[in-house]
Every structure is written in structure tokens, then in C-alpha cells.
Symmetry: C2
Subunit: 270 residues, 2 copies
């Protein structure tokens, strides 16, 4: 783990990331020592910093630290946290603030190897997502909703939980974004009110457009699940998992899902 | 600062309080070495732990640590953070988790001495509060909404900002709860969807009931501000600040506010 470039596993206890969740993070797949989709992750981090009013760390600096940490890792997960840094008591951001960066390397998760091919079972979570356009889309450190949702089940056969907003709209998985295919058209929930705009979500949308697959970012509900031909969840580490079952509904991994999995594999291996 | 009972200002960088805001906190006034409203703060902390599924720390242990830290302080602020403790990557709470406690002592804030007597100017914040009944009422560590709201102004003459929910309902201040008096009746927003159920808020309601003041916890909006006879904000450190001005509306500290200020002073000094 590198904290502000130094080898350490301790941070200042007055860090506003701890006090208020005042910061952002990125979770990257590492293949052969290389963090994947680096540019997209850095772009999202920069956008998040702008929205929270945090001075973004130098991308060159982050890249040098990430390379040092990932060197020699065949397959791992890199997590980058950027907080507003240390501060006194009180919500008001210190001025000037000295943002802190925390890079850590983690083992590749041991999800069953057949999940990408055969698909997964998912559930609907009871914990709703609160709406706030000021925070929507950001991968910020206020993640109690996801913690409570993920605590709802411990059946290892359930790979993910889908979360709804207060009005019952589909938003995302606890750790993933959600896509469905209806009549050959790729659809994913709009995230203007809540949810995390995942880097893999953006990548999938870009690849779909390149591949001539019609895409729609829109409000979706449970009725859309029922009428979907294909369903999948995705993030930067798991890639794409086709959904086989949710709430008694059954799906088969279809041609659009397979094309996108192929495209992601290509992009990741390129 | 005491971290799990040890003198330290560093915490493990894999603490879930940092990673996800997975924890709770309490902010207590300390007078003559004694944390005030201790029982109420411990009760709220315990309720929060139950709702987040965090094993609550021993109150005896917390009390011993708080006393050690506060000994000799004429006037200070004690902050107690309880997190779910260290954990790996991923939202799922570790089982078993080893919660971490972080106690820190801070200087008494240097708010102008005349604010409790003469009242304060407050503003309306643009940052809304998102609704989530699973988190409403808790003093948890996911406080980005308050950080963004408090960053909206830097005029030192504005003491506090009031926050609204998405529907325009009045909820609270960034660091305080809100009360208004209409026709001799004390009213404060219901916090079933969002907001922090402040210890001082509960204390004020209890004192008002003891004093024969009719109380109502209900939905309130901007129209209620306009028709209010008195308005005040409160928390455990500031006590009660009468509001003099908000959004061009002017108020005078009235008899109910004064009675409650007196009652709180009595209780605090008792």
C-alpha cells in the first residue's frame, strides 16, 4: 500500500475520508502489471474531484505509483482512494486542503470461473438508493447503502444484488452496473439521481456504439426486467456477468451479451 | 486521541470507516472534564450500531476512555467514532468484524459569544438531502451532503445553512437540528426519510414536554418558516441558537426559545 507515495498501511485519523467519507475511489483490474482502462478511470476520478471541489492529484504521479505497486502482478485489483486530506472537526472543507492518495493492491477475487460463461443468480435488495443529483454518478466514499444492501444475503450462489430507487426504479447492482437487452437494443438505467457511473458501464456503452448496437440510457423498472431478452451486470473487475435468474425470472446469455463480452475481452487483452 | 484505547493519531488504512463511511459518530460537549448528555449519546450510538449491524463497543470502556481523555479539560469537544473496523475490499461486512473506536478531544469552537443571546443569520442550502429510511436519523459517517452544503458559503456572518429534502421539505441544518414555534407550539421536522436525530434535539423535546410546551414532530416546509413566531437551531455543542434572519425573513428570539435555553443551561450545569 502506498499512502502519498510512501509505503504504509496507516493513515492520519483526522483524514476527512474517515470523518465524513469526503473522497472518491477507483477500482481497477490489473493484468500483467498493467492497470486496465487507466485513462477512463483517471477521467472519472478527475470529474469526481471537480464535483466535490477536491484538487485532483497529478495523473503522472498516480501512474508512477500505480506502476510501482502493480509491477510483477499477473492479475490483481488496484484500488485508488483520493480524500480531501486531513482536517479539523466540522463539515467545512479546510482551505487550502491537502488531498491524500491511497493506493492498494488486492488479490484477484475468486469468483467461480464459470460465471462469465454460464451466468449468475442475482437478487433484488430491500435497501433502497437515496436520490441526490449532487452525488449521483460519483464513486465517492459514502457507501453505506451498498454495505447494507450487500449485508442482506450470504448465499454464495447469489452473485449480486440489484438496487432500486425509492420509486422502484432499477438503478444498479451493489458493486456493478446493470444492462438489459430488449429487441436487440441495449438499455441501462440513467444515473442522474443516484447510482455510480461505472467505468465498465461507459466502456460497454462505447463498445456497443462502435459495434452498431443501439443504446439507450433511460429510466427502467421491474417491468423492463420481465420483458428483457438478455440481462447482465458489469464492472471493471468482473467484466460482464450474464444474469440467469432474478426474482423467479430466467434469462439466457444472448448474442448481444456475448458480443460485448468478446469486445471487452479484446479491449482488455489489446 | 485514543484509538482502541491506545494513544495514537493513525488508523489502519483498511478501516471500513475510511473505505465506505461504514461507522457512526457522536460529538459531545465537555464541561469541567465531564462529557455532557453522556447517557443520551450512548443510547443513540447503540441504536445506530443496531441499525448498521455493528457490534456496539462496551459503554464502560468508552466511558473510561472518555474520562481519561477529558480529564482536566474545562471546556472542550469530545468526538467518538465507531467503525466496523478493518476489512478487505468489497462492501460485504466481514464476519466477524472487530469494530474500532476513535476518541478525540478538540478545542471548544470560537463562535461569537453573543450568538446564543442575540441570535444568528442562517441561509438555505442548495445541496438537497437524499431520502433513505434505512439511514435516516443515524449519525453515520456518510456525510458528503453536509460537506457540500457547508462548502456553499464562507461568509462568517452566516452561522448555519438549512437543508431541504428533494420535495422542498425542511429537514435540518448542516450541523444542527431545526425547531420553530408557531402559536406557542414547538415543531421540528420528522426525520423518517433523512436527517440526523440529534441528541440535543431529543433533549429539547424532552425538556419541552416536561415544561408543558406542546411539541409536534412533523413534516415542515418553507411556508412554516414564514408563519413561525420563533426559530432556532441546536446541537450538543452550540446548545440553542435563535435564528434572526433567513431568506429575508426576520425573527426575534421569543419566550419559548428563552425558556428552552434556560432549561438546557440548567440541565447542562446540573
Amino acid at each position: 500500500m502506498l499512502i502519498d507515495g510512501k509505503d504504509s498501511d496507516q493513515i492520519a485519523a483526522d483524514d476527512r475520508g474517515l470523518l465524513y467519507g469526503d473522497g472518491l475511489f477507483e477500482t481497477l483490474a490489473v493484468h500483467s502489471g498493467e492497470p486496465q482502462l487507466w485513462t477512463q478511470h483517471m477521467a472519472r476520478l478527475a470529474r469526481g474531484c471537480v464535483r466535490l471541489g477536491i484538487e485532483p492529484p497529478s495523473v503522472d504521479l498516480l501512474q508512477a505509483e500505480a506502476r510501482a505497486l502493480c509491477a510483477g502482478s499477473a492479475r490483481a485489483v488496484l484500488k485508488i482512494i483520493v480524500t480531501r486530506g486531513s482536517g479539523g472537526r466540522g463539515y467545512r472543507p479546510p482551505a487550502p486542503a491537502l488531498p491524500r492518495r491511497i493506493l492498494s493492491l488486492h488479490p484477484w477475487p475468486d469468483h467461480p470461473a464459470h460465471w462469465p460463461q454460464q451466468g449468475v443468480n442475482v437478487r433484488l435488495c430491500d435497501t433502497p438508493l437515496g436520490a441526490n443529483p449532487r452525488l449521483a454518478g460519483l464513486k465517492h466514499l459514502n457507501r453505506l447503502e451498498q454495505v447494507l444492501a450487500r449485508a442482506e444475503w450470504d448465499d454464495p450462489d447469489i452473485a449480486e444484488g440489484l438496487m432500486l430507487d425509492a420509486a422502484g426504479g432499477l438503478v444498479e447492482g451493489t458493486m456493478s452496473n446493470l444492462f438489459l437487452v430488449q429487441g436487440g437494443r441495449l438499455r441501462t438505467p440513467a444515473l442522474e439521481q443516484c447510482g455510480v457511473a461505472g467505468v465498465m458501464r461507459g466502456h460497454v456503452l462505447a463498445l456497443a456504439e462502435q459495434g452498431g448496437i443501439a443504446c439507450e440510457v433511460t429510466a427502467l423498472g421491474l417491468a423492463d426486467l420481465r420483458s428483457a431478452d438478455e440481462l447482465f451486470v458489469c464492472n471493471s473487475v468482473i467484466g460482464i456477468w450474464p444474469v440467469r435468474r432474478v426474482q423467479g425470472m430466467e434469462f439466457m446469455p444472448g448474442s448481444v451479451t456475448r458480443r460485448l463480452q468478446q469486445a471487452i475481452g479484446d479491449a482488455v487483452d489489446a
